[in-house]
């Protein structure tokens, strides 16, 4: 699944700054159409799986929902600033590296530092 996910993220051109940037400038609906069709497809699939209550191998399956915690909104806002300025995220920065922009590696180094920093703050 990871292989397919990485392949599709990259083949859809998300590793290119312009693809996301044009979406966030509200000039190109591609990223929104893509995201909406992802959630629509997975939403139907997960609803069916939830009804089944088991994985295909027969193990009990839980697909959790969570009430809104403040952390999700505060963290989401911080994430959104980085997402807006860099037009990238933890998955598609890999696509940037794979398609030839080593700047994606700089972002990834920052992401690891940010994850670490958040761990320090809450320790």
């Amino acid at each position: 699944m990871g292989l397919a996910f990485g392949f599709l993220l990259t083949a859809s051109g998300l590793g290119d700054y312009r693809t996301i940037h044009d979406g966030l400038l509200l000039r190109d609906p591609y990223i929104y159409l893509m995201m909406a069709s992802t959630v629509a497809t997975a939403g139907i699939g997960l609803a069916l799986l939830r009804r089944r209550g088991r994985t295909l191998l027969g193990a009990p399956l839980r697909i959790p929902r969570h009430p809104v915690r403040r952390e999700a909104v505060y963290g989401g806002a911080v994430f959104g600033v980085g997402f807006g300025v860099g037009a990238t995220c933890p998955g598609i920065t890999v696509s940037a590296v794979a398609t030839g922009s080593w700047w994606g590696g700089v972002v990834l180094a920052g992401i690891l530092a940010g994850l670490w920093l958040r761990g320090r703050v809450t320790r």
Partner: protein, 156 residues
């Protein structure tokens, strides 16, 4: 370098395809697809802390392989960093992108997920928290992008 792929897959192929990845991971293994969690496990590995979800390392490793595979069969090449690399000299861009990364990593850990864990998996599962996180980061990102666009006179 072969060119089996168009420059950009149509959204109606890539979107549902990724949706099926989310469903398949739950259907086969009962696991929630997400990317930032994998980087967190890598950090735990570096810190010599026990891994809470070791499978995420495999998932993120496979994602890296998949990305390079797509590039090898002809995904559109990128170079530089779009408008940012036209406006900023390299040292400044380096600093900006490090800060961008730190904000993304810090925010993702604080929020408990990123564009994939909250935006795709959580929203698909109908989780209110994921809807809130996703609406927040998309809203903030659009606002930040439009403000930067205005302040730079349309250069970025």
């Amino acid at each position: 370098m072969s060119h089996l792929l168009p420059d950009q897959l149509p959204w109606w192929v890539a979107g549902p395809g990724i949706g099926l990845c989310v469903v398949a991971l739950y259907a086969l293994a009962g696991l929630k697809l997400g990317v930032s969690g994998g980087w967190l496990q890598l950090l735990f590995l570096a810190e010599r802390r026990p891994l809470t979800e070791p499978w995420r390392l495999w998932f993120t490793g496979a994602l890296v392989l998949g990305a390079f595979l797509a590039a090898a069969v002809g995904a559109d090449r990128t170079s530089g960093y779009g408008a940012l690399s036209e406006v900023l000299p390299a040292p400044a861009l380096l600093g900006v992108l490090l800060v961008v990364g730190v904000l993304i990593g810090y925010g993702a850990r604080w929020a408990g997920g990123c564009t994939s864990g909250h935006g795709i998996s959580g929203c698909s599962a109908g989780s209110p928290e994921s809807f809130a996180a996703t609406a927040t980061f998309f809203g903030v990102a659009v606002a930040v992008t439009l403000v930067v666009h205005l302040l730079t006179g349309g250069a970025v």
